[in-house]
């Protein structure tokens, strides 16, 4: 009996990886999925935070895709290892702080490692949903061999959706996979993928145009760069990258930044940081919780409290009472006049 060939697929939760797996399943290949969580993945991240997100469908698209495909999915936390990819990308950044090519190489190399670690389970090759020309940085034709080479995957990296535009890989040369039944998709036009999705009966897939990484988002990248500049160091922890998605960020002084909740959901989320950060909240009126990231001096409390008060219901009051909570110290209260809209300077907004 012929050997049952097995592949591990990089699953982002988007349409392309969904299709790439199904194309191989149609050829009788057994597939398992792997999903790498860098901390910057759009997946999930803010599900639970903002009020207006509460009614949105809560699903992890990678898990959803795996379930549609009937495959196992292994989710791997690569937050720590990913720091080096983000901080020192050999191939540089895209339009924002997105090191897309290095990221792709990293993920494929992690898949190579995973295949080696699971050698007893007999995985023969790796597949991705890459399409030539789909992404300006990481999916150009000339970088496809770079990804295969630098990741160490070499000829066991198969891209079923654009394989016909590339040199044959081992699975094709060995006859495990019929190259003729693979595809030659290229460019940013999504119609071929949508047609194939329809053919396979996939209807409820994640937005085809959606990116999967916060680092491609300009606002997010700006906040990340501001965080690094504010600290004078590019070190970051998981909490930092989560907090960049929460609240309004204002930096009234170089030494500290304020994160001001935009609704009750975000206030609740920031509550969890009370023991780690200075928090400021108006207590005489309804208003958001705010936390201070960085070093705030006592003489700046009034400024910070005035800013927070600007975003609460007491913004037009002559005076509001504000509570300032410093971890490990008694809670202090201040009576201050909220800053006017003109006094909250545009350049403070990160």
């Amino acid at each position: 009996m012929a050997k049952q060939h097995k592949a591990v697929a990089l699953i982002s939760g988007g349409l392309d990886s969904l299709l790439a797996v199904r194309v191989l399943q149609e050829q009788g290949i057994e597939v398992e999925g792997i999903n790498f969580y860098t901390g910057f993945c759009v997946e999930g991240h803010t599900h639970a935070i903002r009020n207006h997100d509460k009614d949105k469908q809560k699903r992890n698209n990678a898990l959803w895709a795996a379930e549609q495909l009937g495959i196992k999915l292994h989710i791997v936390d690569v937050i720590e290892e990913y720091k080096d990819v983000l901080l020192n990308p050999k191939h540089g950044y895209g339009a924002n702080m997105n090191p897309c090519l290095d990221c792709k190489i990293f993920m494929v190399s992690k898949a190579v490692e995973w295949v080696k670690e699971h050698h007893k389970e007999g995985f023969d090759f790796i597949i991705t949903g890459e399409v030539i020309g789909q992404r300006p940085m990481s999916q150009r034709k000339e970088v496809m061999p770079i990804v295969a080479g630098e990741s160490g995957a070499d000829d066991i990296l198969l891209r079923p959706l654009c394989a016909k535009n590339l040199a044959p890989t081992k699975p094709e040369l060995e006859g495990w996979v019929d190259r003729e039944k693979l595809y030659d998709f290229h460019g940013r036009n999504r119609k071929p993928q949508m047609a194939l999705a329809k053919q396979f009966g996939f209807t409820d897939y994640a937005s085809p145009a959606g990116g999967c990484c916060f680092l491609t988002d300009k606002n997010y990248s700006d906040k990340l760069v501001d965080l690094w500049e504010g600290r004078g160091s590019r070190e970051y922890e998981m909490d930092d990258i989560m907090l960049l998605k929460v609240g309004r960020h204002l930096r009234p002084k170089p030494e500290f930044k304020m994160i001001i909740a935009r609704d009750a959901g975000e206030s609740k989320y920031l509550e969890g940081y009370r023991k780690q950060f200075v928090t400021i909240q108006v207590i005489s009126h309804n208003g958001p919780l705010s936390m201070v990231d960085g070093k705030i001096q006592t003489e700046d409390y009034e400024l910070a409290a005035g800013i927070v008060a600007r975003y609460g219901q007491g913004r037009d009051a002559e005076e509001v009472k504000v509570e300032i909570s410093v971890p490990g110290q008694d809670v202090q209260t201040l009576n201050i006049k909220p800053l006017s809209i003109e006094q909250v300077l545009e350049e403070w907004h990160v």
Binding site: H47, K58, L63
Partner: protein, 75 residues
């Protein structure tokens, strides 16, 4: 059969799923794991993870802002 608890409070998805997945790897078939979370997304994600990986959700309880999802390792 043993019973275990996993604290996934204040973690946002997919971290509760990853922590559950990694904990379950250390457990034996039939063991029970109660995962305590605060991200309501876990109520969708942990059962989805269990279904595709052959584990069983025994139920869930919501208490104030916490959610406890009980998983039995294996079918």
């Amino acid at each position: 059969m043993s019973r275990f608890e996993l604290d996934a409070r204040r973690m946002l998805c997919p971290m509760p799923v990853i922590k559950t997945q990694n904990k379950v790897k250390e457990l034996a078939e039939g063991d029970i794991l109660a995962v305590v979370c605060t991200d309501p997304g876990a109520l969708s994600d942990i059962p989805a993870w269990a279904r595709i990986n052959g584990h069983t959700i025994l139920g869930h309880e919501e208490n104030d802002d916490e959610l406890t999802i009980t998983v039995r390792v294996g079918g």
